[in-house]
């Protein structure tokens, strides 16, 4: 098997680390998040085509944004409930 583009490989590893870091605050727990994240990355580990890897990276960036939005909304709604619906 040929080894993937080292530049992209670096990007993927960095994304994985960033996502792991974000998972520490995941509402369903870090373990839940980590297992699923690992599975999601492992299932794509066989990708060798640069274009496909890039698409995978884009997807990961999208998921990152979704998680950020999830955290923001969760916080906003909790605070809104506590401070505005008295």
């Amino acid at each position: 098997m040929t080894s993937p583009n080292p530049n992209l490989r670096y990007q993927v590893i960095r994304l994985y680390k960033e996502l792991l870091y974000m998972g520490r605050e995941y509402p369903l727990g870090y373990d839940y998040f980590r297992q699923r994240l690992h599975k999601a990355f492992a299932s794509q580990a066989n990708l060798r085509d640069d274009e496909q890897i890039r698409r995978g990276i884009e997807r990961a960036e999208f998921v990152k944004k979704e998680i950020e939005a999830l955290y923001y909304l969760k916080k906003y709604r909790t605070l809104n409930r506590h401070y505005n619906n008295t």
Binding site: Y21, M22, Y72, T78, N84
Partner: protein
């Protein structure tokens, strides 16, 4: 105008998602071994300072400040990861008890003078004490105009226009710098402090100080007599039919 020198005081509080527990003596909320993070209203103030800069308002500097236990450094790092340029940490040992809003306001007054800040953006209140006092007290001590519970801030030269949330509507205030602003929930959407930004923030300067470096009297004036859980919610009941419901309502005196 030379530019805005923004001071953003932040507080380390029990994380908003944690259910607080009261200690055995019923005098305070248990903080040991509980997850802490930045007060959510302070995240809004950091975000607003950073957004002012991004909106091309001439922002010279954004300084984050915190007075608290050594671990308050973490929230200062978060503040710098979100975009503050540097941070000042006044170490207050945990066993000395919490600072009160007046004590913090006195400290902040001196910090404002040392740093020559001309805009202070504070969270309207912290989610642990819910005092909603520090900003107002600081405005009083400095004799600066204040706009509390801001939901929109615009800066044009020396003029600051703030739309604030009041009961059932909004109020628009205009004042000249220097000024105090406290943030409300709908001011902006704070950005996530991502891992790479946290790493970069470790290189930003953080100055450590102690209470002895300030000439402020921060001795507590208040004594917490008792902290109590709210009464547990009583469960509802199911009624069989309309007559049952009317009976229940009569029992409760609602009919």
């Amino acid at each position: 105008m030379s530019g805005l020198r923004i001071l953003v005081p932040v507080k380390r509080v029990i994380d908003y998602a944690v259910k607080p527990r009261i200690n055995r003596a019923n005098t305070a909320v248990e903080t040991a071994g509980v997850k802490h993070s930045m007060n959510p209203f302070d995240e809004l103030s950091i975000e607003e300072a950073v957004r002012l800069r991004e909106r091309k308002v001439p922002v010279e500097e954004i300084v984050a400040f915190s007075a608290g236990p050594p671990k308050a450094q973490d929230v200062l790092r978060t503040a710098m990861a979100m975009g503050a340029d540097r941070a000042i940490h006044v170490t207050v040992e945990e066993n000395k008890g919490d600072l009160e809003p007046l004590g913090v306001a006195k400290l902040l007054k001196q910090v404002v003078q040392q740093e020559k800040s001309n805009l202070v953006i504070l969270g309207k209140q912290s989610i642990d004490d819910d005092a909603n006092q520090t900003g107002q007290m600081l405005a009083g001590l400095l004799n600066w105009p204040q706009a509390t519970q801001a939901s929109k801030v615009t800066v044009e030269n020396e003029d600051v226009t703030v739309i604030r949330e009041v009961d059932g509507g909004v109020e628009t205030l205009k004042a000249k710098l220097p000024m105090i602003i406290t943030t409300d929930l709908r001011l902006n959407e704070p950005r996530y402090a991502s891992l790479p930004n946290i790493m970069k923030a470790k290189k930003k300067p953080l100055v450590k100080k102690t209470l002895a470096d300030f000439e402020a009297d921060v001795t507590p004036r208040l004594k917490t007599v008792k902290v109590q859980e709210p009464p547990p919610r009583k469960g509802g009941v199911k009624v069989e039919d309309v007559d049952g419901m009317i009976g229940k309502l009569k029992e409760l005196g609602a009919l």
